[in-house]
């Protein structure tokens, strides 16, 4: 029982990170129709920027995080301009083009920060709290808290503000939205910026939990994408559910089968996609002939 709870705790905290990655990914897809494989590497850049401010410039973690979010968000707007020609290409090419861009980001990170990577000390005293034999660290609690705040803010933004609603409208029908006075180009850039900002939060939070390296995009990214798809691509609650489920699957399979967890996680994922191709919350669309 203790083992079960302990594993669940681990799964939920990493799952919160995956949920953030999935969220950023889904926002961009939902608002722009762009499948952005480079998103994972934006997570990595966000992590590195945070680390640079936190460790090298010795700013408090909170400040470093905010700075990283702003900078990465701005970077996201820039990336959107670069990737804009891809939006009109077919999805296969879009996927491949963004993979290429992700490789570029990773190489840049290696050239700027080196390839070995850095460990990041926890920004708060990482006290293990004992609750009936289960150890939860204060940092794990922080991750879950921050993720929840971000998700809440995103929901409020999309559903309760004018700008957010306009963004969703632009995704559903560009022409109609433009006719209603929505600046679709700016809306897309903003969507990308927000997606990248969320990615930065994910990257910053996962650093102290695991390790910051140029290759972290690959491992966290693939799982984040898979989580987004598992939950139903473009679906916000789906992204969150998908992320948490992925974290739990990974944690439990890692507990039982040790290092084979990747194998189990992705086979389960593939099976889930075969059984329910549109994801848990996804919509079925009909082919219009």
């Amino acid at each position: 029982m203790i083992w079960f709870l302990q594993t669940a705790v681990g799964g939920l905290s990493i799952g919160a990170v995956y949920a953030l990655v999935a969220l950023g990914f889904s926002i961009v897809y939902r608002t722009m129709g762009l499948v952005n494989f480079a998103h994972a590497d934006v997570v990595m850049i966000g992590a590195y920027v945070t680390v640079t401010f936190f460790l090298t410039a010795r700013l408090p973690f909170g400040v470093a995080l905010v700075l990283a979010v702003v900078l990465t968000g701005a970077l996201g707007v820039g990336i959107e301009r670069v990737l804009r020609p891809l939006e009109s290409r077919d999805l296969n090419l879009m996927l491949i083009g963004t993979i290429g861009f992700g490789i570029v980001l990773e190489s840049v990170a290696i050239l700027v920060w080196g390839s070995t990577g850095t460990a990041v000390p926890a920004p708060i005293p990482n006290v293990p709290l004992h609750a009936g034999g289960v150890v939860v660290t204060t940092y794990q609690l922080l991750i879950v808290a921050v993720s929840a705040v971000v998700m809440g803010m995103l929901y409020l933004f999309l559903d309760r503000t004018k700008v957010g609603t306009a963004m969703q409208a632009a995704a559903m029908d560009r022409v109609a939205a433009t006719a209603m006075g929505v600046n679709v180009g700016a809306s897309n850039a903003l969507a990308f910026g927000i997606g990248s900002a969320i990615a930065a939060v994910a990257g910053a939070m996962v650093g102290p939990l695991l390790y910051v390296s140029p290759g972290m995009g690959a491992s966290i990214g693939i799982k984040g994408f898979a989580a987004a798809i598992l939950g139903g691509f473009g679906n916000i609650p789906g992204a969150i559910a998908g992320g948490l489920i992925f974290g739990l699957i990974e944690s439990f399979s890692s507990g039982q089968l040790s290092a084979y967890s990747d194998l189990v996680t992705f086979v389960v994922f593939a099976a889930a996609m075969v059984l329910r191709p549109t994801g848990i919350f996804g919509e079925r669309t009909a082919d219009r002939a």
Partner: protein, 596 residues
Amino acid sequence: MIRIGIVRPLAVAALFAAPIFMDRYTAHVAVLALIFAIVAVGLSLVMGFAGQVNLAQAAFFGAAAYSASILTTQQHWSPWAAAPVAILVATAMAVVCGLPALRVQSHYLGIVSLGLAVAFSSLLTNARFTGGASGLFGIPPIELPGVDMTDDYNFYYLALTALLAVGAFALFVANTTLGRRLEAMRDDTVAAAACGIEIPYYRLTAFVLAGLCAGVAGVLYAHFVRYVSPDTFSLNAMFLLLAMVIIGGQDSIWASAVGAILLIAARNLLSGIQAYQQLVYGALIVATVVFAPRGLGGTTDLVARRLGIRLPRLPLPIPRPAAPLPQAVPARGRAAGGTALEVVAVGKRFRGLNALSDVTLEVAVGEIHGIIGPNGSGKTTLFNVVSGIYRPSGGKVRLRGRDVTRRRSHQLARLGMGRTFQNLRLFRRLTVLENVMVALDRDPVWEHLRYVVAPWSVWSLERRRRARGLDLLRRMGLDEVADVAAVNLPYGRQRQLEIARAVGGDADLLLLDEPAAGLNAAEMEVLKSTIRQVRDAGVTVVLIEHNMGLVMSLCERITVLAHGRVIASGSPVDVSTDQAVVEAYLGAAFEGSKAV
């Protein structure tokens, strides 16, 4: 595509002569390049030709390499005995990874296949029998009597022979019926199914082809480097493969192979920190996708055009009436008389929207039947139900008395149903002739075993089909543009082509969805005479149209739909004077006017 002529044989000759100039390290790199080229050919077949996003290709490559290694080191098999087993393993793995392709496509498939590749990596890194993170050492070399296969130069010739064999087979597949069907599936899945292609089987076949190529390459790799480790077949390898195929040109076998050779050569012969190389090839991928999505292979055409090399001009002749189609001998017992199509109380619901309710109609054999109604009345939905794209929520569909309600698109195509689509669904990247040849091809999937069992028969079938295709094009007035890519035709011609394709499928029942949309007066006349001639050859025609002149002059009976229901049915005169129809659709001004 560069005309074959003398260029390619010369390139092949150069490849045979090259080792004379190479030092040992360059020969070593060259062998790796050839091996990767084989993998790239497989990726080109599955991604470029069949349109299946396969990010697990490096894993298939690894599966074969590891299988060969394990069998020869731990089980002490001979490399020649282990090779077919290893190739089988890679192919089996490809089939398993291809199963998700039956349910998801495009970026979903990309992520799933990527995930499976990661899963495979996890297996390699952890299992004892795969040697864990260290991998397997001391793999024995291939034994050829009298030849030292540990020598890089000797292995070069083996690898080159393998590449040429695999390449030749791939080209053979690509330029004949199987390749054409894969491309049709890539260009338009719905239309492909309507031409009788069983999509699930073809998706798996694409993966099988990818697995075979990767398998051959894997065996060669294991016995060349004689050491395998999980790193070699990781995601980095996959992205490198992707770069090779994209930059080379994914829809060309030659270009993909060349892309592989170029990238491996560049990677190994240039020194420098790996990060710079990664940066360059990542940037190249993005640039290629944005500016030249068909890769270098497609760019040669662009360059040729810039250099002023003229392409054949598209003829725009005045459309002439098509020559009369011969009286077709009734194929499946096409008796005159009887009911060709019966739709009984069919309904179709989409989550709360009743697109069709209780629709009943009957079409006699040899009739030209019109279906009209305002936009959104469910006409195309009706066609989609009848042609097997949608399952009805209720009711029955009968084709010549046989209940076909639950049948799918490709099965109905086999039973003699052909259709065109409201939004033109041509196989855009195939030529006009190839579009028609896809429809002419009535073979079921297992006929493709010919490729392995009796390849020469594929070739003769191909010639015959080509002749029949040209004949059909001639009769439809499309033979001058036979070799033009469908996407490059003017609109009117594209419509004609779609009809030719539907006709070519030897259909008894033709469903035409707004065939006159966008046509000018002259083209309209050609359309009318084509439809009449098709009917005279014994084919039943059902057509959806908004052009009342066309409908009134062509159709013998008309069914009117509004809001998913039949509101009138009968002869053109009856329907045009029916009050309900006038209110719902025609408008008072039409009342009493004569047919144009």
